[in-house]
Every structure is written in C-alpha cells, then in structure tokens.
C-alpha cells in the first residue's frame, strides 16, 4: 500500500515536469523502473548496505538535528556516530541489532504519538514509508555499520567474473552488474560509429573521411587500439581535456564582478593543454597547480600552473570592503580545491559545522589558511591582471628574449671594454657630428616631450626623433600625436626667469599654462616625470596636474609640493582609488632641485618612486589602492590644479618619459653642470662622469665608441619593446610575513574568532598528522596514498566523460550526501590502478576506451527502456548530445573553416551586435579572419555576458567551478543551429566542398556531405530525403536568384564563384539540414 502511494505521488510529479518536454514515452518507462526499484526494496531477502541504503537516509533527514553540527544538534547523541547509535540514551538503545521493534530509533519513527514521532511533523524533510522499511530491515539484518565508503581506504577487489566478451578488468565489473540486473551487453558498435564516437570523445572533433576510410580498411585485430593511440597523440587531445578543466578551474578572460574587466590568463590555459598533451602525471598536474610556487627550485612553468587558484572571480567595484573579498577569494579556493580533488562540499562548513560530513567549521578555516597568505588585495585592477603575477613568455617569446639579452650583453661587454679608453678622451667635446643638429637631452630614450622653457612654451617632441628608425613610442595609443597646443588659463603671457639651463618658466599666482593636447597618464603605463624646480621659501601647490576640474571627485594626476615635500597623487578617485605618496624630505627654498617621479605601470606604490636630486626618497604612502581607470579632459596645467592650489616657483627642463627610468639615469638627469662645464672639471663625481660619458658617446663620438653606444641603446630599446609584449599570468605566492587566519563566526569576514593554523580535517587523516606546514604539504597529501578520496574523484570524472554519468553520479560530492557508487568495486579498482600507475591519465583513458563496455552499440532497446532507462548498468553505450564547443568546432571542421592553432590569446568570433552594450555599456570588438574560425575553447569568455550560443548549449558560466554541465534540449538551440551566422556560413562552406569533389551525380555529393558529419553514408531513405530537399531548394532559388545570393553571402568568408549562386544556395540548404541532424549533434 505504502509503496503504491509513493509511486503515485512521484508519477504525478514526473508527469508534470517532463510533460513540458513531450517525453511521455520516457516518462512511462521511468515509472516502470521506479516500480521495479521499489518492489526490489520490499523483498525481505535483499541485503541492506548501510553505506548505500541507510546512511543517506539518516543524513538527509536526521543529521540536521542529530548530526555533526553541534549548534543545530537537538540532543546529546549523534546518528552519524556508531557508538551513539547503539547506545542507550535513556529509554533504551536506539538500535538493537536484529530487533527492530525493540529499537528506540524505529519506535520513534513509527510512533502514533505526534509528540513522539520523528522527524517532527513540521520538519522540512520527512521519511517515506519505504525508507522506514529499509531501516527496519537493516536492523533486522543485524544493523551492520560501515564507515562512509568514500572515506574508507581504496581496496582493489579481485575481478568478479570471466567471460569471452570481456576485454579488460572494467568489463568484468560491468558485466557482473548487468547480470545482476538481468541485462546483457549490446553488440559492438559499427566501426563507423566507433571511430566517430572515440574521435569526438578524445579530440572534440569528428574524424575526417580519410581517417574513417583508413580505419575501415584496417582489418587487423589491433586496428582499434592503434586508432586510440593515434588519437591520444593528436594535439587536439590536450585541447579537449583542457576544455573540461577550464570549467573545473572557472577559467575566463574577465574578472567576473560588476564591470567585469578583462584579465589575461591564457598562458595558464595553454599550460593545461600542454600538460595533457605531454601526458604529465596527474600527480604532478595536481601538485604544480596547487603549490607549484613552493616547489624548491621550481620552474616558471610550475609557477604558471598555480594560476588555477587565481582563476576565481575577483572584484574591482569601487566601494567594496577589501577584507570582505579577501575572504571570498580564499573561500573560493577552498571550495574549488575541495570539490575538484576531494569531491567534498567543504564550503558547507564555512558558517557552521558541516551537517553531513565530518568537517568542523574550524577545520574549514584550517584549510583556508593554506590559501589565505597571498600578497593580494581585495579590490583588484579593473582592467588587467592583479598582483601576484608573473611574466610568462611562450617558448618562442623566451627564445626571442634570450636573443635580446645576449645582444645586449654582448654589446655591453664590448662597451665596457672600451670605456677606459673612452673616459680618457671624453672631455674632448668641442667638435662632434651631432652638435650641429641641436642639443639633445642627455637621456633621450623613450623621451616623449621636453619643455626647456627657453622663452618658449612649445615643447620639443621626441617620439619621431628620426635618429633611429626603431625609436617609436611604446604607448602610441595613449599619446596624441598632435603638437601640444598651449593656451593661457589666466594671465597674459608666460613669464620666464633665469633657469638651470637657459630660462625657466615662472609659475605665479596669476599664471597657469594649460595644454590642449591629450597626454594621459593612465596607471598601467610606465612613466617618468622629470623637472628642475626652485621654490621661494616654503610653498604648497601643484607643479603640474591633469584633473577633471568640474568633477566633485577629482580624478586624474597631480604632482605637487606640500610644505616643500614632493607629493604625487593619481587615480580615478582621490578618496579611495588612487596612489598618493609624499617625500619625507622637503626641498630647500630658493635653491634649484631636480625632482623626478617614476611608475612601473603596476598602479602600486611599491612600483613608484620619487627622487630629489637623484636620490630615491623615503616616502610616506598616504594611499595605495589605485585599481580603476580614469581619463581626464585634455588639460595639462602647470602651476595649479585648475584654479586651485597655485604654486609660486620656477621650473626648468620638464620632461615626460614613457618608461620608468633607472636610478642611474635619474642621477644623470640631476647633474646640474652642462657637459661643457663638466669637461673642464678635473675631478668628477660618478654621476657627473656618467653624464659626461653619455653625452660624449651619444652626441660627440663619431667613431666606434659612438656607434657601439647607439647600437647598445637600440638593443636595449628593442629588448624593452619586446618585453612589453610578453604576457603576464596571475599566480600564487606566499606573503613574506604570514597573514593570520581566523575562524570566522557565521562565515563573516568581520567576525573573527580563534586563530587557526594550516591543517586538513582530522576525519580525513585517520592515523596521520593533520597539521601541516605549507600548501605544498597539502598538495602532496592530496595525491598521497593516505588520501582515499582523490583517486576515486578523478577516475570517476574521467569515467563520466565517456559514459555521460559517473560511477558516482554526483561528481562534485562523494561525501555522505552524495550518490552511492553504482559500481563500487569498479570505482575502487580503477582508482587503485590509476594510483599504482603513477596517475597516468592516457593509460587510464586507454583502459576505459578499449573496454568492451565502451565499444558497445548505443541502440536503445525496449528492454533497456523497461529495465534501465538511464543506462545505470551500462548494457549499452550512451548516446550523448555534444558539448557546446564541439558542436561549433565540428561544423567548422566539416566545412573546412576550422583554424587549428593551439593556444594563444583568446579569439572573438561572431557575436550578435550590441550584446555587451545593452546590459553592460561595453563594446565587443568582433575579430575577423582567423579569429572567427578558431576552436570554441579559445572564444573570449566574458563571465557576466558569456558567448550566447555556448550558453544556449549548456556551457558553464565560468563564475564558479562546474564539474558537470547539464545537457538540455531546447528551442533556442534549434534557432542557433539553424540561423546563427557561424553555422550558416559553415553550411555554405560545406556546400562548396560538396560541389568541389569529383562526383558523378548529386547523390554522390550528398553522400559525401552526409558522411563528412556522420562518418557513415546515408541509407537509401536518408539519401532520398536529401535529394528531395535539394530539389525543392533548387526550384526555389532558380526563380529567386537574389535570395540565393543573399544566403551565400552570409558570413565573412567569400562565397566561391566557381558555382552558380542558385546551385550553391541549394546545396547550402542541404548542408544546413545536415548540420541540424540530431545524429550530428550527438555522439552515438
């Protein structure tokens, strides 16, 4: 009776939910299955498995009040502890083995007294009669208690059965389970089906027709094994595995909160591809990603790998509280790491003890301590990478860097060798080839503009100096090439007084100078400002500023004196988004000083410096949180901030460089004497000598020395230019001084409790030390034999890639609330085997793919639907809809459009116009050519507005770790496949190929096109339908050439002119049809 009622209730729900998808057939058969399961449970002879059948019920329904969390525990006993369950807590033992009716537990479950009955009537979770019956039977059968299966050591059991069908160990386990459930394996899939299946599974792309031909022609017994070996060595294999890992690692090209600005992590993505392709052991793959920065003498690549835990979203929103987000980042790392490697929902223990698994709240924070010691900030750089990061050249970039370095070293050595001799003659500066060309500043590499203020306000510009063709300005994008136009802000004329070199500009209350051209000093560019200055007495006021004067929150750049101390401020908001620093030393009044400011483009105080008279100053950092961006109106003002903060001073030789000059270069700039004066001095200080030397070599020496000097400068310049193109990637790194980690009450950043140290949950470290010293210890423990979880978690996920579901269905949770494994012995066997064989991934995959289980056909029989609709017992191969990326990549490959280039910066393929703009006011700049046809895994991924077609086909948003995508079937997918330009363009290109092949008739062309996508020829019926489609389209376009031309012009690639428009259009429609076949978007 009870069972009947339960089933009826479920029937109703099923009907309701599935009805929308017109899957009645499936619904009915599912009900059949449910009946079967329940009937099976009712049989007295069934052996109840505590771990599989009972603990999940207790956990789901009872642990809330009688479980690990002491805060919500209503009694002093716990139903998750064996000791408590068999103990008397006042009214008799909860469970007496073999005696259900004497057991208090069952009495309470069945009590007619509402006050007594458990769970309480108002509890959210109630037990079904079927579940109570299971508990009864468990007690009846002696109430055997078992540790949760996933926490028990991995045990490799002997193979259960032998049979001629069996290809390897896997099959022994699956066949035995099939037998248990009255099923038999399906026949092998046809070779065509098999090669398409395995090629898609391993490379994410379909096989080409020659590959199919080759496989069909190979009648050797090991043809299939050879095929797998070929595919495992195909570089597309690494891409396909990496694609899954990108979901796991929540990889994206943007930061993921609010403005969602761009970041650059593609070098990490390429590391993953490479790792899979070179078959790196999963052991190292793990250790390097979690703690590559801590490996003694670790390589750059190992450090790059740690980007895994910097891929999380990070926030640049203006008003955030830094501490709040530092906690979120660390929590994300814990959650993700625990989910990915341990299959545990550790995040549940952030606010309270874990309700189901043996993880205390304190232990959560002990794990967080591993990930909470990074020199990072809560608010991140709005556009770009945030510290800690690393320059990570690709191999070819590294080669070029080495070349530059060796060029510079060689020239530098030669120069050094000549110096003694040159120093002897450097005072002879009277004559020289360059003197007549006008005097150049001593340090002139990357000099953008200099104002010498010699009775003129027109600056000299240097970016196209012409003395060496390569002397281009690095940041051309930021510099307006127009001449700086000047205008008076106030006063009549600029006034000049005698300066250091010639005249100086006199700043006074009535005069400011505004520049009309755009020179932005955005934080992310390298920069040096240099000027001479003389103040009357003690002054406060701006030397130079570029601020938005009307804005209530001044944004921009300002360089000023505050009681003669030099202060710099720049950033979008004075109050909370800028860098502001002030020297401790004050300038002396009525004396000329040289001052300079340098910034390395990191937007951080430690990357900036202020110099006075060539000495790097100790500064007081007043604010150091410059993460946003700003753009000022084109006004460069000398002597004030708009009309405020006026300064009384003279300035001379004011220069802007697009590079952060070295200390030595600034020393040279700070030498007051002219080269002529220096040449007369008998004794020179080192910096005086350096200045004279530079001057001599640069502008006087016409011989070998001068040539060498210029060659060296040019080599250095080229080196810098190249270095600027080398990407960075965010990495893990430890603070010098350990950041303390506290238990956070209720998980809140501002409610710290006790301080905690690094450690893993005690329950996972049975008999081992659970306190640890570093993240590297954690990483090594994760892949150690002491940890029962990781090998199971990982093989389970690989398994799911090929069978559509895991042996444990809840891939992300192997804890108490997760699903029980359907084939526990198989899971353990695979896990043990994986671990014993050095965590070799390709070996594991080869094993899975060569199993007879994998090679079965995917035909669904009546019996399958009746007994095993979800294919739990694997008596057939699953038929799975392709992942979003594969659907597009397949179309690109089949049509000949695919650009196969591994790695590199992300691509921007077709996207409907305005998609970013209408919700985020940002512009998507669509690429062209190659960018349109790269594999989808390289598509630029903006987390808050992800690529729409990918999302339509269930791609993860990449905002958080996803181990398993859903596989839906929706009308929006139909619209995308039928109409999106990428697919229509692919159809036309496929059509072109169909028309190009040597063929005797239409049928042959159609057969070829069909096979291009399905790896098989169409049946007679299928061919007839294609022919009808072709005929109908031909008829249509023959009378409407204009439409034909429109259709074939869709997409950037140019339609072939070899064929008549109407013919190409007609074939395009057929190709469009083929690309929409259910068979094509499935792997069978």
């Amino acid at each position: 009776m009870f069972y009947h009622r339960v089933i009826q209730g479920q029937q109703l729900n099923l009907l309701k939910t599935l009805g929308q998808h017109t899957r009645m057939y499936r619904v009915l058969t599912m009900i059949g299955l449910l009946c079967l399961v329940h009937v099976a449970q009712a049989t007295e002879s069934d052996v109840i498995d505590f771990s599989r059948d009972i603990r999940p019920i207790l956990a789901d329904t009872c642990y809330q009040c009688h479980g690990p969390d002491e805060h919500t525990r209503e009694t002093d006993f716990r139903l998750d502890l064996q000791g408590d369950v068999f103990k008397d807590h006042g009214s008799g033992p909860l469970v007496i083995p073999g005696k259900p009716s004497d057991s208090v537990l069952l009495q309470r479950l069945l009590s007619p007294d509402v006050e007594q009955r458990m769970p309480p009537v108002d509890a959210d979770r109630q037990l079904s009669p079927g579940q109570i019956e299971l508990i009864r039977k468990w007690i009846q059968q002696g109430a055997p208690w078992k540790q949760h299966w996933a926490f028990a050591p991995i045990k490799k059991s002997p193979l259960p059965i032998a049979d001629s069908w069996i290809e390897n160990a896997i099959d022994s386990f699956t066949l035995s389970a099939m037998h248990e459930h009255g099923l038999a394996p399906s026949a092998n899939a046809s070779k065509e089906r098999l090669i398409r299946r395995v090629t898609l599974d391993l490379t994410g792309l379909p096989p080409t027709q020659p590959q199919v031909d080759e496989f069909l022609a190979d009648s050797a017994p090991d043809a299939y094994v050879k095929l797998i070996d070929r595919l495992l060595h195909d570089l597309r294999y690494g891409e396909r595995q990496a694609l899954h890992w990108l979901d796991v690692a929540r990889y994206a090209d943007t930061n993921g909160y609010q403005t969602d600005g761009e970041r650059h992590m593609w070098r990490w993505r390429d590391w993953v591809i490479d790792s899979f392709n070179k078959d790196q052991s999963f052991y190292d793959f793990t250790v390097e990603q979690l703690a590559g920065d801590l490996i003694p003498d670790g390589t750059t690549e190992q450090k790059l790998a740690t980007g895994f835990n910097r891929n999380h979203r990070s926030n640049s929103e203006g008003g955030i509280v830094f501490e709040e987000y530092l906690v979120e980042y660390a929590v994300d790392r814990v959650d993700t790491t625990a989910t990915v490697w341990l299959g545990l929902t550790m995040g549940c223990a952030r606010c309270h003890e874990h309700k189901y698994d043996p993880i205390t709240q304190k232990e959560f924070y002990q794990v967080m301590a591993f990930f909470n010691n990074i020199p990072e900030r809560g608010r991140v750089i709005k556009y770009g990478n945030s510290f800690p990061m690393l320059k990570v050249p690709t191999q070819s970039m590294q080669a070029e860097m080495d070349q530059h370095a060796s060029n510079v070293a060689k020239l530098s050595d030669e120069m050094t060798n000549k110096l003694v001799e040159i120093i002897k003659r450097m005072r002879q500066i009277d004559a020289g080839p360059h003197r007549s060309a006008g005097r150049l500043p001593i340090i002139n590499q990357d000099l953008l503009i200099q104002f010498d203020w010699d009775k003129t306000i027109t600056p000299q510009q240097f970016q196209v100096e012409g003395r060496a063709v390569d002397y281009d300005v690095i940041n051309t994008a930021e510099v307006d090439k127009e001449l700086l136009q000047t205008k008076m802000i106030a006063g009549d004329k600029p006034q000049f007084k005698s300066g250091v070199f010639g005249d100086a500009l006199d700043l006074n209350e009535t005069f400011q100078l505004g520049g009309g051209a755009l020179i932005q000093f955005p934080g992310h560019q390298k920069l040096t400002l240099s000027t001479w200055i003389r103040v009357s007495g003690v002054q406060s006021g701006a030397i130079m500023s570029m601020l938005n004067p009307d804005d209530q929150r001044p944004q921009g750049f300002s360089w000023k004196l505050v009681d003669n101390c030099v202060e710099v401020n720049f950033g979008p908001r004075w109050l909370d988004d800028s860098v502001r620093m002030k020297t401790k030393l004050a300038l002396q009044g009525d004396k000329w000083h040289h001052i300079a400011f340098t910034s390395d483009g990191t937007q951080m105080a430690r990357g900036m410096a202020i110099y006075i008279d060539g000495v790097k100053q100790e500064v007081e950092v007043l604010l150091d949180i410059f993460t946003g961006t700003y753009k000022t109106k084109p006004t460069l003002i000398f002597g004030g901030e708009a009309t405020d903060n006026l300064l009384q001073a003279q300035i001379d030789n004011t220069a802007f460089y697009v590079r952060d000059l070295s200390h030595q270069e600034i020393e040279i700039l700070s030498v007051r004497e002219t080269p002529e004066q220096l040449a007369t001095l008998a004794k020179l200080t080192p910096r005086q000598q350096a200045k004279l030397l530079h001057y001599y070599l640069d502008q006087v020496d016409a011989g070998e020395g001068g040539q060498l000097y210029h060659d060296l400068q040019l080599a250095r310049h080229r080196q810098r230019l190249h270095l600027a193109t080398v990407p960075t990637s965010m990495v893990m790194q430890e603070n010098n001084q350990r950041r303390k980690t506290y238990l956070l009450k209720r998980g809140q950043y501002d409610a710290p409790g006790e301080e905690v140290s690094m450690g893993i949950p005690v329950a996972l470290a049975a008999g081992q030390k659970h306190d640890m010293q570093s993240r590297l210890d954690l990483a090594k423990w994760i892949v150690s034999d002491n940890n029962p979880l990781t090998a199971r978690v990982i093989v389970n996920r690989f398994w799911a890639q090929f069978f559509g579901r895991g042996i444990v269905v809840s891939l992300e949770n192997l804890g108490v609330q997760g699903d029980a494994p359907t084939h526990p012995e198989l899971l353990d066997w695979l896990a043990a085997d994986f671990r014993e064989n050095d965590w070799n991934v390709k070996r594991l995959l080869r094993l899975i793919l060569t199993s007879a289980t994998y090679q079965q056909d995917s035909v669904v029989t009546r019996k399958h639907l009746d007994v095993d609709v979800d294919n739990v017992w694997l008596s057939r191969a699953p038929r799975l809809r392709l992942q979003a990326e594969m659907i597009r990549d397949q179309a690109l490959q089949a049509s000949g459009l695919l650009v196969q280039r591994i790695g590199g910066t992300s691509a921007r393929p077709y996207q409907p116009t305005g998609l970013w703009k209408e919700i985020a006011s940002q512009v998507y700049v669509q690429g062209s050519g190659v960018e349109l046809y790269r594999r989808s895994m390289y598509t630029f991924w903006k987390r808050t507005v992800p690529p729409p077609t990918m999302v339509t086909f269930d791609a993860a948003s990449r905002e958080y770790c996803v181990l398993q995508r859903s596989r839906t079937n929706t009308p929006l997918q139909a619209l995308a496949l039928l109409n999106e330009v990428a697919f229509v363009e692919a159809a036309r290109n496929l059509a072109q190929q169909m028309l190009k092949i040597k063929a005797v008739d239409d049928a042959e062309r159609l057969r070829w096109g069909w096979r291009q996508l399905t790896a098989r020829y169409p049946s007679k019926y299928e061919l007839t339908v294609l022919q009808k489609m072709l005929a109908a389209s031909r008829k249509q376009y023959k009378t409407d050439i204009e439409s034909a031309e429109k259709l074939i012009a869709f997409g950037e690639s140019v339609a072939s002119t070899e064929f008549r428009s109407e013919e190409l259009a007609a074939f395009t429609i057929v190709a469009n049809l083929i690309l929409n076949l259910d068979e094509v978007i499935n792997r069978e």
Binding site: N13, N979, L1073
Partner: protein
C-alpha cells in the same frame, strides 16, 4: 521533482520591475521632513550605529545630512507620501503597497543585486524566475516560462547570472529579449531563407530524425523534433508579440511617448504585459541608471521621468484587463541610499552612497495587499523602526502568493537541499491582501 503548488496560489505570474543601481528612497518614497532642519550637520554616530560604509565614502571627513530637494505629498487612502518626481505612481497609490522597510546586508551593486535576484550574494544560485520555471513549469506553448528585458544605457552593468539557472538545469534560465536585432537570439532565418523554406527544411529534418529515432530508440530524438517545432512557432509568435501595432492608441498613450522606442523602459513595460498575457510566468525587467553618487537631483529627475509613467501604466493596463488580480508586479532596487551626501553638498546638489539598512519598494496585484504602506524608518531614513523585511522574507512572501511554501521548493545540489530563501525567510503577513 518539486511537488508544487503546495496550496492554492493567488498569483499566476510575476512582472518584476528591477530598478538597477538603487534608487534613493529619500527622494522618492521615504519622506523625511525633519532633515531640513539638520541639513549639512553630520549624521549622528548614534544613528549610524556601527553601520559599515562603502570604500567610496568611508574615508570622508564628514557625513553631512542632505535633505531631499523634492516636494512630497500624500496620496491614496493610505496617505502614502510620494515625491513630486512620481506623479503617475501617485495615481496608482490605491492599487499598490509601498514598503519602506526593506533591508539587505550587501553594500555593493554586484553582490546586492545578485542577492536580490537569487537569494545569495555569490554567483551560482538560480534566479527567482528560474526557480519558478523549475517549480511551476511553463504555461505557454510557444514562449519560454521566464523572460528578461533590459533598458537604460548607462549606469551599473547587468549580468547574465541575474536571470541564470545556477545549478538548476539550464533550460530554466531566463531568455533575455534583446533590444536590438532579433528580440530572441537567432530568431530570424538567415538572409535568403523564407518561412516557407524553413518549413520545408524542418519537415525533411523531422523525417530524418524520426528515422533515426526508430533505428536507435532514443526518446531524446523525439524531444528534439518537438523543440524544432517550438522554435518554428516562436519565429511567428515573438515578432507578433513585439509588434505593438495591434495595441489601441489609448493604451499606447498611457505608457507615454517612449513606448514607440524599442528597448525603452516604456516599451519593455508594455512588452511585459504582452508576455504575461501570453502565459509567460516570470518577466524580469531591468532598468539601469539609478546609481546616483553625485549630481543626484538632476539625474534622478531624468530617471524618474523615464520610468514613472510606464510603471503606473502597466498597473492600470493590467487592472483594466482583469489581470492585476493574479499578476504580481514589483518595483524595487537592490538597496537604499545614504541620508548623508557623498562628496560636495550644496543647496541644490548632492550625491548619495549605498545604504543597506533600509530601502523602499512597491508591489501590487496577485493577492498582495493594495493601498497600504508597510514599514517605517527613523527620521533619517537610516534605520527601520517598524516591520523590517529582509529580501528572504520578501521572496518567501512572493512564493507564498504563487502557491509555494518557500521551504519546500528545493533542489539538491552538492549534497544540500537548496532553496531561494537559503535558510531564512518568513512570509510577511502585512503584505498579503
């Protein structure tokens, strides 16, 4: 599988007018006359009472009180105070309930609006509409159960996650109707392909797919054929839906001039009604541009002008069609704004920073109370003095109207039974009709 409804619903659908960026309650609905006498004085510490501030004003030396420059009057039977900026909203005072006592924990846009829409500050949970699609399914044969609409060209960005499905199967995610190009992505046939051509292709495609279904026996193939048919129907129903030419002049006029501009707030309000009429269960409309840190008086005037009339028109229109009684309409931002000025305060000009402790919203229809004012804040519009309503309480109440016990609409993910209201939420009786 959800066993809903748990009890008879009073509402069948929801239109949620999300005012993104957080409108200032002090200048719209929460009338505070005493502020005039305290103008420019610092906010007393006793009132702030330890409230954390955003990084944008935490370092301000002063927190000068900025009274609203706008006049307020009382409207409707409840005598609700409404700012001069909202004359049209004032005219529907008897149909709506104003709530002045909403509160949240988040103080920044991204987490706050994510909390408002998904019940948590972090990404990854299903949005309200996705929960409804999951719980109640779709009514419409040729439109999705959950549609998102956007308007406004500046201000805080929006994120796909706000109408996302989180851990629910992704078919429950809201379908975002676009303002430019196809309203639904890829709705139009490619150039040179007519509806007749498409029909032919779908017929042949179905023949081939049926053949495959017969051979392989996979029921998913039959589902796919049905989805292609629905797509074909959408190609007709969506353009019909977005074409306002069948709307009578007086209706269009009610929504104001901008109703003719696709993608305007007015046009989206009318579109929301048309979607609701056609069986769409949840229409989530977003209007950007309420984040007035500076130049508030000028900006909020423009913002109110663009939204006041269409919002009121939607209520009137629904009411006139007899749909208001089973349609919930909500007007809400993600948090409130500070009584003190951010940046410079003058007699005519001020800005306001984010404020989580109180904000004002209104709601109407679907079994909710009408012509009522719920909740009261202190004289500074800083702390709630009566009927505090958390977002979870609010969501629990909306679900209640839809026939759902918020503690029982759950989905097991990562070993936990998740719900829209997390582990909190109480149905707010005063909000019910």
């Amino acid at each position: 599988m959800p066993d809903v409804p748990h009890f008879p619903p009073t509402a069948k659908r929801v239109i949620y007018l999300c005012q993104s960026g957080a409108p200032s309650q002090i200048d719209l609905y929460d009338y505070k006359p005493k502020l005039q006498q305290w103008a420019t004085q610092d906010l007393p510490d006793s009132v702030r009472d330890g409230q954390r501030l955003t990084g944008m004003t935490a370092a301000q030396e002063h927190f000068p009180i900025a009274p609203s420059v706008f006049d307020f009057n009382q409207y409707g039977e409840s005598g609700a105070w409404i700012s001069e900026l909202l004359p049209h909203t004032a005219s529907i005072a008897n149909d709506v309930t104003f709530v002045r006592s909403m509160f949240t924990e988040a103080i920044n846009h991204d987490p706050a609006i994510t909390l408002m829409q998904t019940g948590t500050q972090l990404a990854g949970r299903p949005s309200f509409g996705a929960w409804l699609s999951y719980g109640l399914g779709s009514v419409s044969e040729d439109l999705p159960a959950f549609v998102a609409l956007t308007s406004g060209d500046t201000g805080q960005p929006l994120y796909d996650r706000l109408w996302g499905a989180g851990f629910l199967p992704s078919r429950h995610q809201g379908v975002k109707f676009r303002r430019t190009g196809d309203p639904v992505l890829y709705l139009s046939n490619p150039p040179g392909v007519t509806r007749g051509d498409r029909r032919k292709l779908l017929d042949y495609l179905a023949m081939l797919n049926h053949a495959r279904a017969n051979e392989l026996g996979d029921p998913e193939i039959v589902t796919r054929i049905a989805q292609y048919e629905m797509a074909f129907r959408m190609q007709a129903s969506v353009p019909e839906l977005t074409d306002f030419s069948d709307e009578p002049e007086h209706v269009l006029k009610q929504y104001g001039d901008t109703v003719a501009t696709p993608g305007s707030y007015a046009s989206n309000c009318l579109l929301a009604r048309r979607l609701a009429e056609r069986g769409v269960r949840f229409v989530q409309l977003y209007h950007r541009g309420w984040d007035h840190h500076t130049l508030l008086p000028k900006s909020i005037r423009e913002q109110a002008a663009a939204t006041d009339q269409p919002s009121a028109a939607l209520i009137k229109d629904l009411k006139q069609r007899g749909m208001l009684k089973d349609t919930i309409v909500i007007w809400a931002g993600e948090f409130g704004r500070t009584v003190y000025s951010q940046g410079r305060l003058t007699k005519e000009d001020y800005g306001r920073d984010h404020h989580p402790r109180c904000f004002s919203i209104w709601m109407a229809g679907g079994g909710l109370a009408a012509g009522k004012v719920v909740g009261r804040t202190d004289d500074y519009s800083y702390n709630i003095e009566e009927d505090p309503i958390h977002i979870h309480d609010f969501n629990a109440t909306l679900l209640h109207c839809l026939g759902i016990n918020h503690t029982r609409l759950t989905f097991k993910y990562q070993g936990r039974h998740h719900r829209l209201t997390d582990i909190a939420g109480n149905v707010v009786q005063p909000l019910l009709g």
